[in-house]
Structures are given as C-alpha cells and as structure tokens.
C-alpha cells in the first residue's frame, strides 16, 4: 500500500481518500470545504426543512484502516505543501503542531514565564495530616490482630517478632474485640466478656501506646524482654488485668498508679517486675527479710473476709522516699534534686524513712528535715494551676496538640519543647496527679517512694482459716524495695506524712499492727484508723 500511496497525486481535501472510489466533485467552494463546521445558514437561505433536504452535510468518509491513509500529507492540506515521500515512510514523531489548536498558548512566546524545571513545591502553610508509616513488623501484628478479631481468638501471640514500635491505631483495633460464644446444644447462650491475652515478649519496644491501656478486656499482658524505659501511669486503668509481666526491661521506676491494680475490685494475680535496673536507695532500709512468712497474720476479731472478692492479693508498705523535685510549668526544674540526674547512677538518697516501728500509725519524724524551700512553699501553696499549665491542660484535651507545635515561633522554643513533651505524654495516655487524680501536663512535684510489695494469701499451713501470710514477691535483697514515682499537681498534693504499715488497697477493709490484722475496730482506741 505504501508504494501505491507514493504514486498517488496529492489529494484534494474533503474528498474521500479511497482509491477505489471515484472522486466526487466538491459541492461547495474549496475555501468552505476545509472548514469542518456546518455551512453558515442565512435568513435568505431556503427553509432547512426536510422537504428541502437535498444532500446531507458533507462528511469525510474513510474506508479501511487509519494507517492506510496518510494523514501527514493529506489532513492539513491548507498549509501542507504537497510533499512526496520517498521510500518507506518515516515514523511520525510527536511534535507540536503550533497551529493545530491543541496546544493553546504554547506557541513559544510565553516560554520565558514558565521555568523549564519546576522548583520543589512551596511548603504548605497549614499543617498537613501526616499518615504515619508503620513498620513491616507492626503490619504483621496488625494483620494478626485482624485475624484474631475475625476468628475470636483471644490470645494474640507476638513473640520475638522484632517489633520496635507500636502505634495507637494498631492497638485500638483490639478494643473492638468481642467474644464469640461457642454454641452447644442445651447450653444457654450467655454473654461473656472477652479475655484478651497479648504477648509481646522478646521484642524491642521502647514505649507503649496509650491506647493499650484502654483495651478494657485485656487480662494478660506480657512485655517481657523489651526495651521499655518507663511505664505510663495509665496502666492503672487496666482493672481486668490478671497477669502482668514487665520483667527484663530498662525500667527505673514504676508509676504509683500501678498500685491501682491491687485495688479490691482488680483481678491481678501474677505480677513480674524483676529484673529491671530499678533505682536503688542510697541508704539501706531496715532488714526486711526478717520473719518472712514465718508468722501468720492473725485476724483480730475472728471474722475473716466473708467474701473473697474483697481479699487483697497484694499488700504494700512504704519504706522511704527521695527528695522532691520541683518543676515550673514550663519544665524548668527549680529544686536542687532532679530525678533526671540520678537516672545515670541509679542510686538515690533517701530523704525520709517511714517509721516502721509505728506501723499503721503515722507519726511525724522529728529528725526529718525536708527541703526548706519546699516547706515554705507548702505553707503558701494553692491548688490553682499556673496559667501556662491551665492552657496546656486545655490543649491536652483537644486533638490539635500535635499541630500546635508547628505554629510556635522560634523565639519561644521552650514552649515548643513543652508542647512536644505534652504530645508524647498524650500519646502514652497522659499523666495524672498521684494524689488527686487530676490530669496534668507538667507535674509540679515528683519524687520517688520505695515500697515493699508482698503477696497476700490465706495460709493453710497453720491449719486454721483466718490466718494469712505475706510472701515477698522477690527474695533478692535489692528487689525488695520497689521504687514508685509520684507526681503531684501542686504542693498541696505533695508528700505527706503517712503510716508505714501494710497498706490495704482501696476498697478493702482492714489494717495491721505488727503481724495482727484487724478487720474490725482496733482493740484500743490508741490511734485513728489510718486506712480506708
């Protein structure tokens, strides 16, 4: 066909191109025929009714494949000089046909205005929503959780999967978990709360997402052998937890909110806190391993707990506390003692020993000499937060905290640091005042308090009900005193003089003097009830 094309004379436009068809005379003049539009209609024309229809609008008619026609030489006959292509036709290259009307305004006159290479787009002024990327390991976990959600599998096993971070979004999936009941014949359908078990042992987690503590149905949480440096205070919210394993991490102290798990209505049975590089007291506490489990705890009025619900499983007692760190709302530490500075050595001096001799009854220790500055401030303290703190608490409640940072000018970098810190805290579930449980951003006071934890169980060894034993959760000497960090919103929530006896958690009745445990009134009214 190509060869045939070459031999053909240049085509007249508007005429069918098919060589087999006889060329038709153009009805109109050639100037109009190049125009693809309909011919103009004037009022003097005949009525364009169907009666006057003579011939349809002329149309280019092609028969055969497009490549059999030669558009390059024929379509634009107005401008194209009849060219004679010799030999095999060269391939058409894409080029701008300036007059084709396709590339409007691109006739080369405005090219100066448009840079050849576009610069990087200007940084958007409004903060953009950053879609966090998740690591492949976390994606695996997410898939696993989704699979478990579908099958109703309550144990999510994610051992040794090289998980380095865990985002809130992944864990939030777990809150949707519902128990899938087994349908058996003749067994009444009953609704049951799911009992989720999450095993994240042997990973490389450095921090925990706050959403983890909102998963109400979590009963087992294993974080053994990770790289956690601290435990968020939100852990106290997990009231359904039965097993908690925090061993083999890098934890220096526990939040005092962990003790909420010992409350009367909590179900905690197993607790592993060791080994961890916990903060040690500079001065030793009294010999604590004496009488371990030797003497039974006696019930004074012969009425042991009627129900086992109120039976505490763990009892704690205070041993001593460190000096207090005072912080301004902007994060500046004003006291001589700083918790951050002791993290390296891991040894803290003890400012105040709780007097173990007067168990159960708080007695002010005359030898104690607290920081004079702190004492003075306590006298004239107020519970009203500073305005900076009040603003930060408001910002903390809104979802826009993370965006605020980008608006802070460079001159106020200390405020930016404050916002950054608040955002990190929020991500982990926020801080609360250990005393009044108010949500706070910057604790005004922080101090370490050492406590001894013992598990509390009814003794069968002595053959009689109503006798209880306190068993240490660890027999290693340096693991007896467990450091807990206290945070306070104001000086009025600061450290107070409290008794050093075995403390019964909230919701359980009872108090102890020596090894005797009282559920009723004390034998003599020598002191006020020191416990709830």
């Amino acid at each position: 066909m190509d060869q045939e094309d070459v031999s053909l004379p240049p085509l007249i436009s508007g005429v069918s191109h098919n060589p087999r068809k006889r060329p038709r005379q153009p009805r109109l003049s050639s100037s109009l025929s190049v125009n693809s539009s309909d011919p103009a209609i004037f009022s003097s024309d005949d009525d364009p009714a169907l009666d006057n229809y003579v011939e349809g609008r002329q149309k280019k008619k092609y028969i055969g494949s497009w490549y059999k026609h030669d558009p390059a030489s024929s379509s634009d006959s107005t401008f194209g000089e009849p060219t004679v292509a010799l030999g095999p036709k060269p391939k058409r290259t894409f080029r701008r046909d300036f007059d084709s009307g396709v590339f409007l305004g691109s006739d080369g006159t405005d090219s100066e205005g448009v840079p050849e290479v576009l610069d990087n787009p200007a940084k958007p002024r409004l903060p953009q929503v950053v879609i966090p990327k998740i690591s492949p390991a976390e994606q695996k976990l997410r898939d696993k959780i989704e699979r478990c959600l579908e099958t109703g599998d309550e144990a999510i096993d994610f051992w040794q999967m090289d998980l380095t971070e865990l985002s809130n979004d992944t864990i939030a999936l777990l809150s949707q978990f519902t128990h899938i009941p087994k349908i058996t014949k003749d067994v009444a359908f009953e609704q049951k709360e799911p009992e989720l078990k999450l095993y994240l042992a042997q990973n490389r987690l450095m921090r925990l997402p706050g959403a983890l503590f909102d998963v109400t149905y979590l009963t087992t949480l294993s974080l053994r052998n990770n790289k956690l440096t601290d435990v968020p205070p939100a852990i106290g919210k997990m009231s359904n937890l039965q097993q908690l394993n925090l061993s083999q991490n890098r934890i220096r102290n526990f939040p005092v909110e962990l003790l909420d798990l010992f409350k009367a209505n909590s179900r905690l049975e197993g607790l592993s806190l060791f080994p961890n590089p916990l903060l040690l007291a500079e001065q030793p506490f009294e010999s604590l391993l004496d009488n371990v489990g030797e003497e039974p705890f006696q019930v004074w009025d012969g009425a042991p707990w009627k129900t086992t619900e109120n039976l505490p499983r763990f009892l704690t007692r205070r041993l001593g506390r460190s000096p207090v760190q005072a912080t301004e709302s902007t994060g500046k530490i004003t006291s001589a003692f700083s918790i951050q500075s002791i993290m390296d050595t891991g040894v803290v001096s003890v400012e105040h020993f709780f007097n173990a001799k007067h168990e159960s009854h708080g007695s002010p220790n005359p030898s104690e000499e607290p920081d004079v500055a702190v004492q003075q401030q306590t006298a004239s303290s107020t519970r009203v937060p500073s305005l900076v703190e009040a603003v930060m608490r408001s910002a903390h409640r809104t979802p826009h905290l993370g965006e605020m940072v980008s608006y802070i000018p460079d001159e106020l970098s200390h405020l930016r640091a404050l916002c950054d810190r608040a955002a990190v805290q929020k991500d982990q579930g926020g801080l609360v005042c250990s005393q009044c449980r108010r949500a706070i951003v910057t604790p005004a006071l922080e101090w370490i308090e050492w406590r001894e934890i013992r598990s509390f169980s009814e003794s069968t060894r002595f053959g009689r009900a109503g006798k209880y034993r306190l068993v240490p959760i660890s027999v290693r000497r340096d693991e007896i005193n467990v450091p807990f960090i206290h945070r306070a919103c104001s000086l009025r929530c600061g450290p107070q003089e409290q008794h050093a006896g075995w403390e019964f958690p909230q919701g359980t009745r009872g108090r102890t003097i020596g090894n005797i445990f009282y559920t009723g009134p004390l034998p003599s009214e020598e002191g006020t009830p020191s416990n709830q």
């Binding site: 301004e328 004239s380 519970r383 305005l387 900076v388 603003v391 910002a395 605020m404």
Partner: protein, 110 residues
C-alpha cells in the same frame, strides 16, 4: 495616684484599646504586672495604675484577666474547677502567660 495608698483596682489595656479594671491583689499573681505596678517604683504605670500591653489582644487579655480572678477566687480552696480555655486562643494565651511569668504553681497567696 497617691503612692502611700495604692488604688484597689488597676487598669490593664489591650493592644486594641480595651480596658480591663482588675482587682490589684488578683493582678499581682503575675510577677511582671507586679513589677510594673510596684508603688515603690517610678514607672508611669505604677503612678497611674494603668498597664498597656501592646502585644496582647483584647481576647487574650480577657482570658488573662479571667485567670487573675480565677486564681484569686480559688487560691485557698481545695476543690478547684478547670478553667475553660477555647482551643483557638491556646497558643496566644500560652505565649502571653509565658511573657507574664505565669508559670509558677507555687504562687504566693498572701
């Protein structure tokens, strides 16, 4: 104003000209305002008990004045409600609070 008997109220003026009349004792919570209005000093602000804040708009200053009274009212009480701060002014208020030195929790309540 008489230096010996400072007025009970002081006037704080925002950048857009709004005047807020505040109890002097309440405004003293800010060390900056306190310094400006110290009767012993010879500042013009102290003489006339008027402080003009060119950097603080009336919306923000309104909130600051609210805080002064909030602090004054609850400084000795045990149960302190949260102050309501709209999120739109959080940043400006944060910067203003920092400027006015309102970052101490342990404010003297004499």
């Amino acid at each position: 104003m008489d230096v010996q008997a400072p007025s009970k109220y002081v006037t704080l003026i925002s950048s857009d000209g709004f005047e807020f009349v505040v109890l002097r004792e309440a405004a003293m919570v800010s060390p900056i305002v306190k310094g400006m209005l110290d009767p012993k000093s010879q500042f013009a602000e102290a003489k006339h008990a008027r402080c003009v804040f060119q950097e603080i708009s009336s919306i923000v200053l309104d909130k600051i004045v609210e805080y002064f009274h909030y602090w004054y009212r609850y400084r000795n009480s045990e149960d302190v409600p949260d102050m309501d701060i709209p999120v739109e002014i959080c940043l400006e208020l944060l910067a203003a609070a920092d400027y006015l030195g309102l970052d101490h929790v342990n404010l003297n309540s004499k």
